[in-house]
């Protein structure tokens, strides 16, 4: 058969496939109908075969080019992005993530760094006799004045009480900062700097508010406002920075312990040697991908904590509830965090067997 004739004949099928592609990309799957989908599959296979045989057919190059694009489009319609299995979300959230966090060296590192610096800065700012002007140097004199004016009034009378727009603002603002902290972590040094800066500023502010330089009333207002949402928010910052560092370190050191790997992550040609403590070396880019896979769930947990903290900050902290109630909320939140990270996160035997 002549090549020209062959192309004329196939053209009908190719164009039908093209029309089906356009239809599938613009309308929902259910409205297309089973018959059309079956037809699409047949035509796709036919086009694939035409492409595979293009060489032996001696098709002209522009037709081959056309076929590549056609098959590419059809391929894009045939293979769709996989939907998330929402039935597994509970398992991921309450079994996998806490264990991941409990074992993660980076989160441990950021945890110790943050609290060390926080407590140190707090201690130094709270003792202005020994460390004069420390708080003003770290936080800035203007900011300290601003805080003192802000907390001159009781929290319940300051912000017109709890508002929905306040909650939305805190979600937007704080989670945005958390995500930035996470992303900056890829540079390691940048991530640690942001973390230490936050720790120093927060610690100095807390310490200054507790120092004798500040009047009793202001400091009481400050702690009344801060207590309730503190546990969630500070933990969320630590988690976000830890997740960021996990990505940064996986770039610096492309070694992963075999026991922490999933089966499909072993490099090609590597056999599991039953020596679970063996370290597997990766190319940096693959190591980065594995690091990101580990870090994203931690960042997800951090984002959830940020949102919970924003809710508490908007609804409970500025509310006219008595201070004891807010302290109870803080204790309850801390308890929840303990249960989540330690009880749920503690490594267990059954997870090794599974």
């Amino acid at each position: 058969m002549k090549v020209a004739q062959l192309i004329e004949k196939r053209r009908v099928y190719w164009q039908e496939l093209e029309n089906l592609c356009a239809q599938m990309s613009s309308s929902r799957k259910k409205t297309i109908g089973a018959r059309n989908i079956a037809r699409f599959a047949t035509l796709y296979r036919a086009a694939c075969a035409d492409l595979a045989l293009a060489d032996s057919y001696q098709l002209p190059p522009n037709i081959v080019d056309y076929l590549h694009k056609l098959v590419g489009r059809a391929h894009g319609q045939l293979y769709r992005s996989r939907r998330v299995d929402w039935s597994k979300i509970g398992d991921i959230l309450f079994r996998q993530i806490p264990r991941e966090i409990f074992q993660d060296r980076c989160v441990q590192l950021t945890f110790w760094l943050f609290w060390m610096v926080f407590l140190l800065a707090g201690f130094m700012a709270a003792n202005p006799d020994r460390f004069p002007n420390f708080a003003a140097d770290i936080v800035g004199a203007e900011n300290i004045d601003m805080y003192e004016q802000m907390y001159a009034e009781a929290p319940s009378s300051r912000n017109n009480g709890p508002t929905a727009s306040g909650a939305a603002f805190y979600v937007n603002h704080n989670t945005g900062i958390g995500i930035k902290c996470f992303v900056v972590g890829i540079t390691v040094i940048g991530g640690i700097c942001v973390l230490l800066y936050n720790a120093a500023v927060l610690g100095a502010t807390f310490g200054h508010m507790a120092s004798p330089n500040v009047s009793e009333e202001v400091s009481q207002h400050f702690f009344e406002f801060v207590t309730a949402h503190g546990p969630f928010e500070l933990t969320a910052i630590v988690l976000a920075a830890g997740a960021g560092l996990r990505i940064g370190f996986s770039l610096i050191s492309p070694y992963h312990k075999e026991e922490s790997l999933q089966p499909d992550e072993l490099p090609e040609g590597e056999e599991s040697l039953f020596d679970k403590s063996r370290r597997v070396a990766y190319e940096r880019i693959d190591s980065l991908r594995i690091g990101a896979k580990r870090a994203l769930p931690i960042m997800g947990a951090s984002a959830i904590l940020f949102i919970l903290a924003a809710m508490i900050e908007a609804w409970i902290s500025p509310s006219p509830l008595p201070e004891q109630a807010k302290q109870v909320v803080a204790i309850f939140c801390s308890g929840l965090l303990m249960v989540y990270f330690i009880v749920l996160g503690y490594p267990r035997r059954e997870s090794d067997a599974a």
Binding site: V3, S56, P60, S81, A168, I179
Partner: protein, 315 residues
């Protein structure tokens, strides 16, 4: 085996092998087309927010809210919408729309994995969260430093990382793409071109002088086809210059007079290969490929494997 020529090393074509064991090429999208798509998305987001704002302030929708005492709720919704627009607009669209956003869809771009497969939620989230890195390096404006007011300094977002990182890898991947293992491909609709017509009767006559037992090798067929499809853009002198390299040895081989037009000879070869009755016979009836259930022949060695495969799949 890349499309027309073997230009794999320098081309932006990327070979994908599908689960059906078919290899085809995707064209990887370059930074500037993607920049355009990004700007379109930015404009769409801006337009939606603007339309929302206009609806609230001018069309009186806002006063309805205020009168109902829901002003607070309205502001909350607006802030939340801004938050999701800012961080999750791209990721959500790429997840729901099979790797495209409105801007990408308008420019026929699609995000796939490195292997050409569709992306999942994890990948769309990672590649879009790391958009923040693309803005680096952020440079504070010099006059702000001179004013000694460090806190509210205006920062210039240079977007240099978004330009530099894609240049240094083969698939124009941003940092987010590298981390998530994704790439952006062009999914053009291209028009099916017809076989070039040979209007010149002399070419058809000349085709008869080409020896019947001459079968052009594949690379030569490709070269001839490319030449004939594009020859109408060239002047006569240019045609002669280009056709000469192939035509001169061929004239020699066929024993034709050396003053034959080079252009004409290539046209004749094209006619002979694609249009005449003697054209290459490696083809088969399309009814087999589309699986209408007719008998299959295994006469041609090239087709044996393919037709068995198609037959197996059509069951």
């Amino acid at each position: 085996m890349v499309a027309p020529w073997n230009t794999e090393a320098i081309d932006s074509q990327f070979k994908v092998v599908t689960p059906e064991n078919i290899a085809f090429n995707y064209q990887v999208a370059g930074p500037f087309r993607r920049l355009l798509a990004f700007l379109l998305d930015l404009a769409i987001r801006g337009a939606v927010i603007l339309a929302f704002f206009i609806a609230l302030s001018c069309a009186g929708l806002g006063s309805v809210f205020v009168n109902a005492g829901l002003e607070d709720l309205m502001f909350a919704l607006m802030t939340l919408a801004a938050f999701f627009f800012n961080w999750f607009y791209m990721a959500a669209f790429e997840y729901w729309w099979n790797g495209t956003t409105p801007g990408k869809w308008l420019l026929n771009l699609r995000v796939t994995t490195d292997e050409g497969e569709p992306i999942n939620l994890f990948q769309s989230a990672v590649r879009n969260l790391f958009r923040y890195v693309d803005m680096w390096p952020m440079v504070p404006l010099p006059f702000a430093v001179m004013r000694e007011e460090m806190t509210p300094e205006p920062v210039v977002v240079t977007f240099l990382f978004a330009l530099i990182v894609p240049i240094f890898n083969q698939r124009f991947q941003r940092i987010g793409d590298l981390i998530a293992g994704t790439m952006v491909v062009i999914e053009d609709r291209s028009w099916l071109m017809k076989i070039a017509k040979i209007e010149d009767d002399r070419a058809r006559l000349l085709a008869d002088y080409i020896p019947l037992n001459f079968v052009a090798p594949r690379s030569m067929v490709k070269a001839v086809a490319t030449y004939v499809e594009r020859r109408r853009y060239f002047t006569t002198a240019r045609r002669r210059e280009i056709a000469r390299h192939l035509a001169e040895p061929l004239l020699d081989k066929f024993g034709l007079p050396a003053d034959t037009s080079y252009d004409l000879l290539l046209c004749a070869l094209y006619y002979r290969t694609f249009l005449s009755k003697h054209s290459a016979d490696g083809t088969k009836e399309d009814s087999q490929l589309v699986g209408d259930g007719t008998t299959r022949e295994h006469s041609n060695p090239y087709l044996a494997t393919a037709s068995v495969k198609v037959g197996a799949e059509s069951k």
